[in-house]
Symmetry: C2
Subunit: 110 residues, 2 copies
DNA sequence: TTTACATGCAACCAGTTGGTTGCATATAAT
DNA sequence: ATTATATGCAACCAACTGGTTGCATGTAAA
């Protein structure tokens, strides 16, 4: 998985909004996804291509529409490998702090 | 919290590497953090400022050194509000899929 | 077969990003 | 006091990003 592509894809409000919309209703067409976004269809298309390259959405051409489907796997992977690393895993922040002060090692990722 | 600033700050390999380094050893000085990165100290300083503005690192001037401390809170917040939303929360992917097919609503964030 | 609609593609452009170099400043060490 | 070290600041620059417009193409509807 291209972690960098995923982070870069997530680093834009409108793209996160698009994911949000697909989460709410999967399989929407380009035109449908454009509604309410303050930019041209072509701009939205570019954003969707970025999400697609990051493997966050998959597409399916059906008739003259292009359906967009959310793929949660890369987000899950980032959560697992990246986010959870920085979080208290056991009994809250105090326990975590204690671990750090004791110098206990942690697995590193990426 | 400025979610966008955090995502943008994370959308760069070297900046994630810097967080990694601070996770491994907190409180490092600018010079120490430069070691092994293929760019000038000034560039690293810029990256650190971006992390600082996103509230991902806090700094403390001590003598002629500037110490950098990791702040895991924004990452935690993103994990809570953003990442976990896209993840199976209960008994694995099948359960999650079942929920979606049943059209159960989920809280939305941002 | 026309006409309308959904999308694709390419050129272009302004603003941002990510890096550099050069110099200034502040603190520590000799 | 002098020298060395750690950092700060500003100007500059190439490359990338995020948007536009204009036109082409493919599919559905009348």
């Amino acid at each position: 998985m291209d972690t960098n592509a995923v982070f870069k894809a997530l680093a834009h409000r409108e793209r996160r909004k698009l994911l949000d919309r697909l989460f709410a209703e999967n399989g929407q067409s380009l035109n449908k996804l454009c509604a309410g976004l303050h930019m041209t269809r072509q701009a939205v298309s570019k954003h969707l291509r970025i999400l697609e390259r990051a493997n966050l959405v998959a597409t399916l051409k059906r008739g003259r529409d292009k359906e967009h489907y959310l793929n949660p796997v890369p987000i899950h992977a980032i959560g697992e490998r990246w986010i959870s690393k920085y979080q208290p895993r056991h009994l809250g922040a105090l326990h975590d702090l204690k671990n750090r002060l004791e110098g206990k090692g942690e697995k590193r990722h990426e």
